[in-house]
Amino acid sequence: MTQVAPRRLDTFTLASEPGNERLALARVAGTVKDLGLSDARLERLKTAVAEATMNAIEHGNGNRPEIPVEVAVTQDGDEIIVAITDQGGEVNPGADEHEEPDLIRKLDGDQSPRGWGLFLIRNMVDAMDITTDGQRHTIWLTMRTGGAAHDERM
């Protein structure tokens, strides 16, 4: 059987400025729009990309515009993989997310109202991995195209 090599669909960088996550989500959405994701799953991927990019801008690169966030979109078989890289090294990109968000504790004032980013990402995509290589810190978001009705929540 012939193995099809992963295909790089797009790479780009963004300045680490708050709000630039919107640019990332729009560009990734445009790149993957014809690859067979349902509307619901495309919306999930967009949210995951925005949250991961926000973390990279804020926690990884410290909102320093001169340090770019790198985004790469790859298709590997029936998987779309979005890699978002900052220069935060071992720094946890969700620095305020050491514990699982608990809405009741938040409403009672026992937990910060914030801290939803990684939680949302994990729940939006089929797989999430984080790797570090020296200073480079990458979050990998994987979404399968088509045939994924089993995890449609709607």
Binding site: P18, G19, E21, R22, A40, E43, R44, T47, A50, E51, M54, P101, L103, K106, L107, G109, S112, P113, R114, G115, W116, G117, F119, L120, N123, R153, M154
Partner: protein
């Protein structure tokens, strides 16, 4: 930070309505807090319920979710109910995942919310 969120408020019998538009993210904190304040102080005796209408909102992120949590916490402390209308299917899913929908009743649109609140089914 400049906010891309706008809010208008209006009073209905039994409910204060906050109609949001644009982007609900961290930069919307002052807009949302001010709107809540205006909504519940305009006619406080009528405002046991606050309706958040998201029909014209095109983006909510995790920091926006945090703001909604803060509004809900304040409303609960003041013994007010919060309901939401006009969320897209995607953001309804996020309200479910975060469990916000356990505490905020969701309506498809503002008309339905207002109708239910002003003429509740027997």
């Amino acid at each position: 930070m400049t906010s891309a969120c706008e809010a208008t408020t209006r009073a209905l019998p039994g409910a204060a309505v906050i109609e949001l538009s644009g982007e609900v993210d961290g930069s919307a904190a002052a807009v949302l807090t001010d709107a809540y304040e205006r909504a519940v102080t305009a006619s406080p005796e009528n405002h046991d319920t606050v309706v958040l209408d998201f029909a014209a909102v095109d983006y909510i992120n995790s920091t926006g979710i945090a703001l909604i949590v803060s509004v809900l916490a304040r409303a609960r402390a003041e013994r007010r109910k919060v309901v939401a209308s006009g969320l897209s299917p995607h953001y309804r899913e996020i309200f479910d995942i975060t469990r916000l929908s356990d505490f905020i009743e969701l309506f498809p649109d503002l008309d339905r919310a207002v109708s239910e609140l002003t003429h509740p089914a027997a």
